[in-house]
């Protein structure tokens, strides 16, 4: 009988390994191809590269619209992260505490990610037009980003709060802590992980989102994904790959920063 398990392990192990490897290759290969393509010394976006060079990074740096778009995307993502982290966290605390609000509040708060993003974008566009906000300024775009990033913060913080033992605050109070001190010394440290994870998602989603930006941006401004899309319509040189690689690096930096701050169980399973 013992043999059956041993044999099973030997038979299934290599199959499992091959399967896992295949999934990884399927997921990661496009990213490696983009990175390699960005290092291409040839004039066209192709794989494998014809030689190694950083000339397309220089081309990106000299391409003002691209640099402007990246700076804008970065700014918008930072503001979205800041605002949605505050709103999402407060909503999660309210949600955890107030029982009557439960069903409805949760649906309303995560509706922006339940609905197709393009629908949210169209709805906001019409709404801005109605109230006269229009899309001349960046406010509409920024609000749209905050709208779609808040649910990620809310969900992450709610998950953290749900796991927390409700007796902990009472224990702190019984030991002499006022409600404010109990919150700062016990509740907040224990929700930090959820808040930082939520903020990371908010940043990445905002930096990356396309539909919302496409509809809500003003005529003369571009976020990075939109600029990339426009560029690829007329050009097929590796600048696009260089921009993509930089985007990937910024995303990775956000993840690494999160890991440094709170230790990411999400990525370090």
């Amino acid at each position: 009988m013992a043999n059956r398990f041993g044999l099973g392990a030997i038979v299934t192990r290599p199959l499992l390994l091959i399967f896992v490897a295949a999934v990884y290759i399927f997921l990661m290969a496009p990213i490696f191809m983009v990175v390699l393509a960005s290092l291409n010394s040839g004039a066209y976006l192709r794989f494998p590269p014809e030689g190694l060079s950083l000339r397309w990074y220089v081309a990106f740096y000299e391409n003002t619209p691209f640099v402007d778009a990246m700076v804008l995307s970065f700014k918008v993502a930072l503001i979205s992260t800041l605002v949605s982290t505050i709103i999402g966290t407060m909503a999660a605390f309210y949600f955890a505490r107030v029982r009557e609000a439960r069903g409805g509040l949760r649906v309303v708060l995560i509706a922006p990610i339940l609905l197709p993003e393009i629908l949210t974008a169209i709805a906001l566009l019409l709404y801005y037009h109605q109230i006269g906000l229009g899309t001349r300024s960046l406010i509409g775009l920024q609000l749209g980003h905050i709208l779609i990033t808040t649910p990620y913060v809310f969900l992450n913080v709610t998950a953290g709060l749900g796991n927390m033992n409700p007796s902990l605050q009472e224990a702190a109070r019984s030991l002499g802590a006022t409600p404010a001190i109990a919150f700062r010394r016990v509740t907040l440290p224990l929700t930090k992980q959820g808040i930082v994870n939520g903020a990371m998602f908010a940043f990445i989603i905002s930096f990356d989102t396309f539909s919302i930006s496409l509809l809500l941006k003003s005529v003369d401004t571009m976020t990075l994904p939109i600029q990339l899309f426009e560029y690829l319509q007329w050009n097929f040189d590796p600048t696009a790959a260089a921009v993509s690689t930089i985007s990937i690096l910024i995303t990775l930096a956000a993840v690494a920063l999160t890991d440094r701050l709170v230790g990411l169980r999400v990525i370090r399973f």
Partner: protein, 366 residues
């Protein structure tokens, strides 16, 4: 030195589903003497935990007073009441080490770093965990976590120690050990302690006095021996220990509180408290270990009747017999495990009047 007095405590919950008010506590008076351990014992929903939470300050009562010595603390928030609280789920702060957990209350009291360190060390010695200061709660077993929780509650030298089912999450053997541990710790420190439990043997072993609660009211408040041998009501008798009841009607009063009751198995002589006049219905309570069995008719003694062994169960330390008697009742009898009475044997039963007790039949019971 704290005496806790509860006077006319009420607590009402609003049941929003049924749209009515539900009384969790219906008026409780209780005096806990300084340095004693008093258990609140009862089934779930009897109001024992609500009472504890009112004392801790997490439930505002709807009426009544709670006094520590002579000071009414009802208006004070929990952090000003100077209590030590131990939870069923330990409630240690998972992001702090054992030493930080224990030091938290001292830190709140603005005790200096060096003093905190010294006192945390002392209390860790007291709970027999001197080397565990740097561990995190997740690295400890349930029993160790509960000892740290005790240390955390005791280190602030609170006026009152409150424990809410602290052993309910531990396995049977550890629970047994911890009972004695908590009791001896409490006696050494001499702290006034209120202990909530639904486990009657826990309450018996640990307490100076036991409060038995049902439906938001106190049924009896007495020392463990009295609760067991002289329960105030049928409900208390059934909740604490195993019971046999034989229904009867009081037919005579004798000296020393003894009554004679006519029953289906003849007249029985029993001990009773106040009341129980001739003609009153009564239930005779006899605990399983108070009944003796013999194969031949005992020469002397009162309360002798016959029965047939219908079942026999080996329990280890005792043997449990089920005895069919003439009234149609089945009596439960516990005998020394080395006794050897066969199932289906006809036996003589007897019990001493002072080892029985009369209670009033519960209203509505047949």
């Amino acid at each position: 030195m704290t005496r806790v007095a509860i006077e006319g405590l009420h607590k009402v919950y609003r049941d929003s589903d049924r749209g009515e008010d539900v009384y969790a506590i219906k008026g409780i008076d209780l005096l806990v003497e300084d340095g004693t351990l008093v258990s609140l014992l009862g089934p779930s929903g009897c109001g024992k935990t609500t009472t504890l939470r009112c004392i801790a300050g997490f439930e505002p009562p709807d009426g009544g007073a709670i006094r520590f010595n002579d000071e009414d603390i009802v208006a004070q928030p929990p952090e000003q009441r100077d209590i030590g609280l131990v939870f069923q789920n330990y409630a240690l702060f998972p992001h702090m080490t054992v030493a930080e957990n224990i030091g938290f209350g001292l830190e709140m009291r603005k005790v200096g770093k060096a003093d905190i360190q010294r006192r945390v060390g002392e209390v860790l010695d007291m709970v027999q965990m001197p080397t565990y200061g740097d561990r995190y709660p997740s690295q400890l077993s349930g029993g160790q976590q509960q000892r740290v929780a005790l240390a955390r509650a005791l280190v602030i030298e609170p006026r009152v120690l409150l424990l809410d089912e602290p052993l309910a999450n531990l396995d049977a053997k550890l629970r047994e050990e911890m009972r004695f541990f908590i009791r001896s710790l409490q006696q050494r420190v001499g702290i006034t302690t209120i202990y909530v439990t639904h486990d009657q043997s826990e309450a018996m072993v640990m307490s100076d006095r036991v409060v038995v609660m049902f439906g938001g009211l106190i049924s009896q408040y007495a020392d463990p021996r009295t609760i067991y041998a002289r329960p105030a009501t049928q409900q208390v008798a059934e909740f604490v220990g195993l019971s046999n009841f034989v229904a009867g009607i009081v037919s005579a009063r004798e000296e020393n509180g003894v009554r004679v009751a006519e029953t289906a198995i003849g007249p029985l002589r029993c001990t009773a408290g106040e009341g129980f006049d001739v003609g009153d219905p009564a239930l005779i309570l006899v605990r399983p270990e108070a009944i003796s069995l013999s194969r031949t008719r005992p020469d002397a003694g009162t309360n002798v009747f016959q029965g047939r062994v219908s079942e026999r169960h080996f329990l280890g330390h005792t043997t449990d017999y089920r005895l069919a008697i003439a009234s149609g009742n089945v009596l439960q009898v516990h005998l020394n495990t080395f006794s050897d009475i066969e199932p289906d044997a006809e036996v003589w039963c007897s019990f001493e009047p002072e080892q029985s007790w009369l209670v009033s039949p519960a209203r509505g019971a047949s």
